[in-house]
């Protein structure tokens, strides 16, 4: 049911125009953080207001929307955002990755490769990859302008010197088309390779920080590393206990007070599809 008290997809058309201009600029300069006049949304800052505004600016009545959080369609915040758009735009929704025209996500990229014509909208808490090295926005903008990324390389080097590897497990920084260092949002670094050369449009919205950035289709995205310490996407060394998949990103679930654990795909649509196709894991009802 559409809520008639508000414009299609909640935002007024002037605001959408402002957002679309920022999105076009972001697509024209991949990886560059475009300031935009973020609006107060009816959900809290930090809960996806940037992604929601980007999705609202992209939605048309014929779209089919998928919303995931931690890879799952049924986590509470994904449910809440999906409902928001059902209520304010009346668009069709889906859980099937392949059927969605717009996918809003928090912390994951779907396992199933995206295709041309799809839009992936990321919710971003802190858009600035240099933020925890330099707290001042006035400084970090200058560093991007001058392509001054030495501080980041020093940080990565120090990690390796101290721990033998880069101790960043998620929100692992990338370089876009050889120019801007970009925060891919807090996706696990397992997902980083999927950013590169994707046929889909990837849009990033940070509402509280008033920044939008983007990756147009088929953009070169490289995770920062060193020749002698190449980037490695990592995941739990297990197979999914429900669908048996050995290549998907897994959530670890504690199943009793003895510390027993199981591993399941974080991408619920991917896992359910595989189970429906007859794949079985260690703890599938038939297998157990």
């Amino acid at each position: 049911m559409t809520d008639q008290a508000y414009n299609f997809a909640y935002l007024d058309e002037q605001t959408k125009r402002m957002l679309r201009r920022a999105l076009l600029k972001a697509l024209a300069v991949p990886g560059y953080q475009v300031p935009f006049a973020s609006r107060e949304m009816p959900m809290p800052y930090g809960w996806g207001t940037g992604g929601v505004q980007v999705t609202a600016a992209c939605l048309t009545p014929v779209d089919r929307l998928k919303v995931i959080d931690q890879g799952a369609d049924d986590t509470t915040n994904a449910v809440s955002i999906r409902r928001f758009f059902q209520r304010t735009s009346g668009v069709a929704v889906t859980e099937a990755t392949a059927e969605a025209t717009i996918i809003q996500t928090r912390h994951r990229i779907p396992e199933q490769p995206l295709s041309e014509g799809q839009i992936l909208v990321y919710q971003v808490p802190i858009p600035e990859p240099l933020r925890f090295l330099e707290p001042r926005e006035t400084e970090t903008r200058k560093m991007h302008e001058l392509e001054e990324y030495g501080l980041m390389h020093v940080k990565l080097y120090e990690d390796i010197a101290r721990h033998g590897e880069v101790s960043t497990a998620y929100a692992y920084p990338v370089k876009v088309e050889g120019r801007y260092v970009m925060d891919p949002s807090p996706i696990p670094k397992f997902d980083n390779p999927k950013l590169n050369d994707s046929p889909a449009i990837q849009l990033f919205g940070a509402g509280r920080e008033c920044r939008i950035y983007a990756l147009p289709p088929f953009t070169k995205v490289v995770s920062l590393d060193f020749d002698d310490h190449p980037f490695q996407a990592s995941k739990a060394e297990h197979n999914c206990d429900l669908c048996g998949c050995g290549t998907s990103y897994l959530d670890e679930v504690i199943t009793d007070d003895q510390g027993s654990r199981m591993f399941v795909c974080s991408d619920t649509d991917f896992c359910a599809t595989r189970q429906a196709e007859g794949h079985r894991g260690r703890l599938s009802p038939e297998a157990a």
Partner: protein, 362 residues
């Protein structure tokens, strides 16, 4: 046996229903009306209007009721509503010199044109619980006297006549609008004041207090504090003159700060300014102190590294709706990131333990 976690939708519906029930409380107790909140919790209503940046006492009262008295949640409701409102026009600047004052005090002069008017203040009350209020008795009527009708000029105007206070150059520039443009730094004073006017009262108070305790000391006195109603006027292009469309209540504080002079300015008094919707005295005084502390650069003072002198720090953290949203978002699921960290810590631990083994053996 693990069952895939489903049922987010049902859980949300149930939580909302429970919340609605809790909000109402005991059904045997009469329900609060919006008018009761507006009239009897007026200072809470004022705070919600000020930090929500929307002057509408009824809506603020509704928000307080809906938020179960959580004022930041109420501010959030007002902000989210405000952002959907179309913007027809901007008013002409309000003239606080012609304010109909309910309260007007100066700490710098014993008496002055327009007089000192205490107004309805807590200031000289003894903070003793008034148990008579538990008995729900009628309030005694306050004595009245006719309005004096005398002009109430700003104290700083009087100081300005003698050149004792820094001149405030007149500007007709349209200020930047924080609600329609992203915050870009450095900010000018108008933008800083705009941000502070809607800033969290507690944060502003703490910053102002820190300047008094030496973290960016500004030697402030309340030159003048005034609370009252001003007319809001709008220029109608068809008519060619301004028309009054209503009245709002404002609290204005001008602090007067001792200043020994700097490389670029002679000794004189300097200004801090606070203007807040409604009767919000603590907030407006705090705002004027923070404003003054933030002006160190234009006055050629030293930056001693105090938080209240740091424009980027103050403006980036003063909004309680941004702050509370981001703070509370860590309640949201983070299993994916946590899982990635878990793998990393396990691997690093395994490597560290393996690295120790040969030494132990040796």
């Amino acid at each position: 046996m693990y069952v895939a976690v489903k049922g987010g939708e049902r859980a949300i519906d149930a939580a909302h229903a429970w919340l609605a029930e809790e909000r109402r409380g005991d059904l045997a107790i009469a329900e609060l009306s919006i008018a009761q909140i507006r009239e009897q919790l007026a200072l809470a209503v004022n705070r919600v209007m000020a930090e929500g940046s929307l002057y509408d006492p009824d809506l603020a009262a509704l928000a307080i009721k809906q938020a179960r008295g959580d004022l930041i949640e109420a501010v959030f409701l007002i902000r989210a509503y405000r952002t959907t409102l179309p913007r027809f026009t901007a008013s002409t600047p309000v003239d606080t010199a012609s304010m109909t004052v309910d309260r007007r005090v100066s700490a710098t002069f014993k008496d002055l044109p327009g007089g000192q008017i205490l107004g309805p203040t807590f200031d000289y009350t003894h903070r003793l619980l008034d148990f008579a209020l538990m008995a729900e008795g009628e309030a005694p009527a306050a004595p009245r006297s006719p309005a004096i009708g005398e002009a109430v000029p700003h104290v700083t105007e009087l100081l300005d006549q003698d050149g004792l206070i820094e001149a405030e150059p007149f500007s007709d520039l349209t200020p930047r609008d924080l609600t329609r443009e992203p915050l870009e730094l450095p900010a000018d004073r108008a933008l800083r004041l705009q941000a502070l006017a809607r800033a969290d009262e507690g944060f502003t108070l703490a910053l102002a207090y820190s300047t008094q305790r030496g973290y960016g000391r500004t030697h402030a006195f309340v030159g003048e504090l005034r609370i009252g109603r001003v007319a809001v006027e709008v220029e109608l292009p068809e008519l060619g003159f301004a028309v009054e469309i209503g009245e709002i209540e404002l609290t204005e504080c001008e602090s007067v700060n001792q200043f020994k002079g700097s490389k670029i300015e002679p000794p004189q008094f300097t200004r801090g300014y606070g203007l807040v919707l409604g009767q919000s005295e603590r907030k407006s005084i705090s705002m004027s102190l923070v404003d003054r502390a933030l002006r160190w650069k234009e006055l050629g003072e030293d930056n001693i590294g105090a938080p209240a002198q740091d424009e980027e720090f103050v403006l980036s953290h003063c909004d309680n709706i941004q702050a509370t949203g981001f703070l509370e978002h860590i309640k949201l699921p983070h299993y994916v990131d946590f899982q990635a960290e878990l793998e990393l810590v396990r691997r690093l631990r395994a490597e560290a333990i393996a690295a120790q083994k040969p030494e132990d053996a040796a």
